[in-house]
C-alpha cells in the first residue's frame, strides 16, 4: 500500500509543481506581467494559484518523506531517522519542501503589491528549480551509468511538461475568471485591452514549444530507459510509456484543433476552445500521474529475464469463450491462501477464480454500455442503466475476497479488520453511491448541473488510478501480463470520462462525444470479458 500511496503523492507533487511553474510561464509569456506594476485581477489570480500550488507541493513532498521513512521503519523495526537524513533522497526532498514553501511565500507576497524585477526573476528561478529538482528523486539519480545526461534530460522533460500542464491549468482558471467578471469586462472602455484572443494565441505558441520539449526529451529518455522496440510490448515500464504516448497524442490532437481555431479566428476564442482545454488539462494530469507510476517500475532496459514475448502479450487479448462457471470456493480455499498467505505463485484455481470475476464484471459493463447506447438512441426506459452497477457491486462483495465474508471463513466483522478487504469494501460503497447518484441525475431526481459532472470526473480519476495501480505480486513478467490488459481499460476509462465531459460541456459538438464514451464503455466490457491470466 505504501508503494501506491507513494506513487499518488509523487503524481500530486508533479501536478502541483507544474501549476507553480506553469503559472510563472503564464505570467511571463502570456499575461506579460510587468515589474513595478500593481498586479491586476488575472495576475493576482495566477500568483495566488502559484502560491497555493507550491505550498501544496511542499506539503505533499513532506508526506512523501514520512511515507518513505515509515516504510523503512516497518522494514527495520525502528525509525532509522539519522541514517535516512544522510541520503540523497531525504536531503533533496527536505530541501524541496523548504524551497517550495519559499516559492509559495514569494508568490503570495507578490500578489498583493508591485514588485521589482528581481522578485519576478527570483520567482521564475524558484519555480524552475522546484520542478527541475524532481529529477534528483527520479530513476536518473539512481542509475549506474549516464547519470548526468539522464538527470539533465529528466529535468528538461519535467520543466517542459510543467509549462504545458501548468499553463493549461492557468488558462482554465483565467477562463473561469473571465466568466465571473463578464459583466464588468463588458463595460470597460477598451475591449482590445481585455480581449482573450491575444492571450490564447500567445499560450498556443508557448504550449507547442513546450510540447516540442516534452517530445524531444521524452524520446531521448525513452531510448535510454526502454532501449529496444520489444521492451515496449514486453515490460510494464514499456506499456506505461506507450500509455503516456497514447494520452499525449490525444492531448496533442485537441491542442492542434485549438491551435488551428485560434490562428484562423481573428476575434475572441469560441467556447469550444475552452472546453477542449479542460479535456487537455485532464489528459495532462493523467499523464503526470502515469509518469509518477513509472518511477515505481524498473526501467524496461533492465528487465531482460522476465520480459514477456509478443506472442504472450497477444494471447492475453485473444478472444475466447468467457468463463461463466466458477471453481468451487472450497477448492480455492484448500489450494490457496489468497489473503493471509505469502503469495509465491499463482495457482490454476486462483486464475480460474479471477477470470470468472473479470468475465462476469465484463458482462455487467457490456450490459450497461448497451443500455446507455439505447438511451442515447431514444429508448427512455434504458436511462436506468446505472442501476446495473448495483448488481456488479453485489457481485464484487461476494467474490472479490474469497477468504472473507460471505464466502470465506472470516466473519463479517473479522473481514473488515483485514486491510485488503476493508479497501475493497470501501470501493464497493463508492460504486453503490455512484450508481445511485448517476441514476438520480438521469431520472431527474438530481439537477444535471453540477451533479452530472460526478460521472465523468470519477470515470477519469478511476481510469487514472487504474493506470497507476501497480501489480507486483509474483514476478515482473506476471505483473506485466496482468497490467497489459488493465492499461487499455484504464485509458478507455479516461477517454470515456472526458467524452462524457464534452457531451455535457459542449452540446454544440453534436453526437460524437456521447457515442465515443459509450463506445469506450463497451470496449472496456469486452476487454474484461476476454480477460486471460494464462
Amino acid at each position: 500500500m505504501a508503494g501506491f500511496v507513494d506513487v499518488l503523492l509523487r503524481g500530486l507533487i508533479l501536478v502541483l509543481a507544474s501549476v507553480a511553474l506553469g503559472g510563472v510561464a503564464w505570467l511571463r509569456f502570456v499575461l506579460r506581467a510587468e515589474p513595478h506594476v500593481k498586479p491586476d485581477g488575472p495576475t493576482v489570480l495566477a500568483l495566488r494559484a502559484v502560491a497555493v500550488a507550491a505550498a501544496g507541493a511542499g506539503a505533499a513532498q513532506a508526506v512523501v518523506v514520512l511515507v518513505s521513512l515509515g516504510a523503512l521503519a516497518s522494514a527495520h523495526g525502528g525509525w532509522p531517522a539519522a541514517e535516512f537524513f544522510t541520503t540523497t533522497f531525504a536531503l533533496t526532498a527536505a530541501a524541496r519542501v523548504a524551497w517550495a514553501l519559499g516559492v509559495a511565500a514569494l508568490a503570495w507576497r507578490m500578489a498583493s503589491r508591485a514588485c521589482p524585477g528581481a522578485s519576478w526573476a527570483a520567482l521564475a528561478v524558484g519555480a524552475t528549480v522546484l520542478v527541475a529538482s524532481s529529477a534528483i528523486l527520479s530513476h536518473a539519480v539512481a542509475r549506474v551509468e549516464y547519470r548526468a545526461p539522464l538527470l539533465a534530460l529528466d529535468a528538461a522533460h519535467q520543466v517542459a511538461a510543467a509549462v504545458w500542464v501548468g499553463g493549461l491549468a492557468h488558462l482554465t482558471l483565467y477562463a473561469a475568471w473571465r466568466r465571473r467578471h463578464a459583466a464588468v469586462l463588458a463595460t470597460l472602455p477598451d475591449p482590445v485591452a481585455v480581449a482573450a484572443g491575444p492571450l490564447v494565441r500567445r499560450f498556443s505558441t508557448l504550449a507547442f514549444r513546450s510540447m516540442a520539449g516534452i517530445v524531444l526529451a521524452g524520446a531521448a529518455l525513452t531510448w535510454m530507459y526502454v532501449g529496444e522496440a520489444a521492451a515496449f510490448v514486453g515490460t510494464a515500464y514499456g506499456i506505461m510509456v506507450l500509455s503516456k504516448v497514447l494520452l499525449l497524442i490525444a492531448a496533442l490532437g485537441l491542442a492542434y484543433a485549438n491551435m488551428r481555431a485560434v490562428r484562423e479566428a481573428a476575434g475572441e476564442p469560441a467556447v469550444r476552445l475552452f472546453r477542449f482545454v479542460e479535456v487537455e488539462l485532464g489528459l495532462g494530469i493523467t499523464i503526470l500521474f502515469a509518469a509518477a507510476s513509472l518511477t515505481s517500475l524498473p526501467p524496461a532496459v533492465d528487465v531482460t529475464i522476465d520480459r514477456a514475448t509478443v506472442a504472450e502479450v497477444a494471447a492475453r487479448f485473444r478472444p475466447a469463450p468467457p468463463r461463466l462457471t466458477s471453481p468451487p470456493i472450497d477448492e480455492l480455499l484448500r489450494a490457496a491462501d489468497p489473503l493471509m498467505g505469502r503469495q509465491v505463485a499463482r495457482m490454476p484455481v486462483e486464475r480460474a477464480w479471477s477470470e470468472f470475476n473479470h468475465h462476469w464484471a465484463g458482462l455487467f459493463v457490456v450490459a450497461m454500455a448497451i443500455l446507455a447506447m439505447a438511451e442515447r438512441a431514444g429508448a427512455r426506459a434504458a436511462r436506468h442503466w446505472p442501476l446495473v452497477f448495483l448488481g456488479m457491486a453485489a457481485f464484487l462483495v461476494v467474490r472479490s475476497d474469497p477468504r472473507a465474508w460471505p464466502l470465506g471463513p472470516a466473519g463479517f466483522w473479522e473481514s473488515l479488520t483485514l486491510p485488503d478487504v476493508l479497501q475493497h469494501r470501501a470501493f464497493v460503497v463508492l460504486v453503490v453511491a455512484f450508481a445511485v447518484f448517476e441514476w438520480m441525475v438521469r431520472t431527474g431526481r438530481l439537477a444535471e448541473r453540477p451533479w452530472a459532472y460526478v460521472f465523468p470526473l470519477l470515470c477519469a480519476v478511476g481510469g487514472g488510478l487504474l493506470l497507476t495501480h501497480s501489480h507486483a505480486m509474483f514476478n515482473l513478467k506476471d505483473e506485466f501480463l496482468i497490467e497489459v490488459t488493465h492499461a487499455p481499460i484504464a485509458i478507455l476509462g479516461v477517454f470515456a470520462g472526458w467524452g462524457r465531459w464534452l457531451e455535457l460541456r459542449l452540446p454544440e459538438a453534436g453526437g460524437w462525444p456521447a457515442w465515443s464514451w459509450r463506445g469506450c464503455l463497451a470496449a472496456v466490457g469486452l476487454l474484461l470479458l476476454f480477460y486471460r491470466e494464462g
Binding site: L72, V141, D302, S354, F427, L465, S470, H486
Partner: protein, 118 residues
C-alpha cells in the same frame, strides 16, 4: 465509474501493490544454487544504486530461524552492490531476504533460496 471497473479488473485479483523498482540482477550464492560450504558472504547486485546503510540482508532457514548478515565494507563495493557477511550456516535450505532503499527513495523487498549441501 472506472472506480468500479478498476475494482472489477484490479482488485478481483487480490493484488496488493508493492514497489518493484530495484531489480536483483545477480547474486552470490545464486538463486536455487546448491553450495558445498557455508558461504562467507552474500553479494547482491541491483539495477540501480542503493543506500547501503539503510539496506538489510538476512538468511532464514526451513524452521524460520533468522541469521543476520550485516552489510560489510559499504564503501568498498560498487554503488549498486550489497555485500553481507554471513555467519556459519547449517546444511539445508536457506532463504536470503533483502530489503534495500534505492537512491531515488523506494523501499524494495525480495528473497530467493539456495541449498547448503550436508
Amino acid at each position: 465509474m472506472l472506480l468500479g471497473l478498476g475494482l472489477a479488473a484490479g482488485l478481483a485479483t487480490w493484488a496488493t501493490p508493492a514497489p518493484a523498482h530495484s531489480l536483483l540482477l545477480a547474486a552470490t550464492p545464486a538463486p536455487d544454487a546448491v553450495v558445498a560450504a557455508s558461504p562467507p558472504y552474500v553479494s547482491l547486485r541491483f539495477n540501480n544504486r542503493v543506500e547501503k546503510r539503510l539496506s538489510r540482508v538476512q538468511l532464514v532457514d526451513e524452521r524460520g530461524r533468522v541469521a543476520r548478515a550485516p552489510i560489510a565494507g559499504a564503501d568498498d563495493q560498487p554503488a549498486e552492490t550489497l555485500r553481507a557477511v554471513v555467519p556459519p550456516l547449517a546444511p539445508g535450505l536457506w532463504r536470503v531476504e533483502w530489503h534495500v532503499f534505492s537512491t531515488d527513495g523506494h523501499v524494495v523487498n525480495g528473497s530467493y533460496g539456495f541449498r547448503l549441501a550436508p
